[in-house]
């Protein structure tokens, strides 16, 4: 019993929070520029703030608006950095043509 109760409580908390987050994210979803989401997915998602922006989402927005450069992200890995730069180049090119 001493072992079962904590497990149940922790499991229940996890279950409720998981459901809650899902429900909230569904009903409070806001349509956004999908390009930001793409860029954000390529950032490390540490949300450490070392770049000077408020989290990776904010930096992704700034990258798209050409307000900052990829190197400002401190923890990003080298190969991810190269991939992200290429991705950004493509995006900007598409913007120019379109």
């Amino acid at each position: 019993m001493d072992i079962l109760l904590p497990a149940l409580v922790l499991g229940a908390i996890g279950f409720v929070l998981g459901l809650l987050i899902f429900v909230v994210s569904k009903y409070f979803h806001v349509e956004e520029d999908h390009r930001i989401e793409q860029i954000e997915a390529m950032l490390p998602k540490y949300n450490c703030g070392a770049c000077g922006y408020a989290g990776c989402h904010d930096m992704a927005t700034a990258l798209l608006n050409k307000e900052c450069i990829v190197s400002q992200c401190k923890p990003i890995k080298q190969d991810a950095k190269v991939a992200l730069m290429a991705h950004l180049d493509q995006l900007f090119k598409a913007e120019k043509e379109g």
């Binding site: 996890g14 998981g18 987050i21 540490y46 070392a50 401190k74 923890p75």
Partner: protein, 226 residues
């Protein structure tokens, strides 16, 4: 990347504290003595290696990875928090002095960006063995960084470095007070205080930046000559 590079990158090229500047809070707070730094290093080592192992075991199966994906951050947090709590309880039971001097910074390992960062950036995309090696490298790099900071702080602040057993009859010590006396100055108490924490880390980062700058200019001139 071979295993050796994977291991060494945590210590030098991607040192979590000196290069990516993550996990600064505990590294400033508990580096008042070398003993604390080593203790913190061991705690982080245990948590980081095991969390990397467990998370890579969860995500090594593509089906599981897909299943966990929408809630992966909470899952990582639960795994990390469990490991941290285990470390906390073990320290509380068997190393009370260390537990007391590290204080609230043991449970705060949970929010140390290094651990969540490695889980997200490395362990979730790599095989268990690679992840363990990565964890060992990163934890050693972090411990090394903590030891360097605390070495300077304790040395300049008290002139006496005690590594183990401060209360026992013959602790392991490095006594440099005679050197201070020879030069004719007192140990600078300020370095044990918060001021010293910021100052020491600032100067170490500056020295590392200076070395990096020098290397860059050297490389540039070599390129020019060639």
């Amino acid at each position: 990347m071979n295993q050796k590079q994977n291991f060494l990158k945590g210590i030098f090229k991607e040192n979590p504290l000196f290069v990516t500047v993550l996990g600064m809070c505990p590294s400033l707070a508990i580096t008042t003595s070398l003993e604390n730094a080593i203790g913190m290093g061991i705690a982080v080592f245990f948590v980081l290696v095991l969390s990397n192992l467990i998370i890579s075991l969860i995500t090594v199966n593509p089906k599981m990875k897909e299943l966990v994906k929408p809630v992966r951050i909470p899952v990582y947090i639960v795994v990390i928090a469990t490991l941290v709590t285990i470390v906390e309880m073990v320290l509380h039971a068997y190393l009370v002095d260390l537990y007391n001097s590290l204080g609230v910074f043991i449970p705060l390992i949970v929010v140390n960006c290094i651990i969540l960062g490695r889980a997200e950036a490395f362990a979730s995309d790599n095989k268990p063995l690679d992840s363990v090696v990565d964890g060992v490298g990163m934890a050693l790099g972090y411990t090394l960084a903590l030891m360097i900071i605390s070495f300077f702080r304790e040395l300049l602040g008290s002139g006496l470095i005690t590594i183990w057993g401060a209360k026992s009859a013959n602790p392991i010590q490095l006594n440099l007070i005679p050197v201070f006396e020879f030069i004719g100055i007192e140990p600078i108490n300020m370095f044990i205080k918060p001021v010293g924490a910021f100052l020491t880390l600032g100067f170490i980062l500056a020295v590392l930046a200076a070395i990096a700058n020098k290397k860059a200019t050297k490389m540039a001139s070599e390129v020019k000559q060639a």
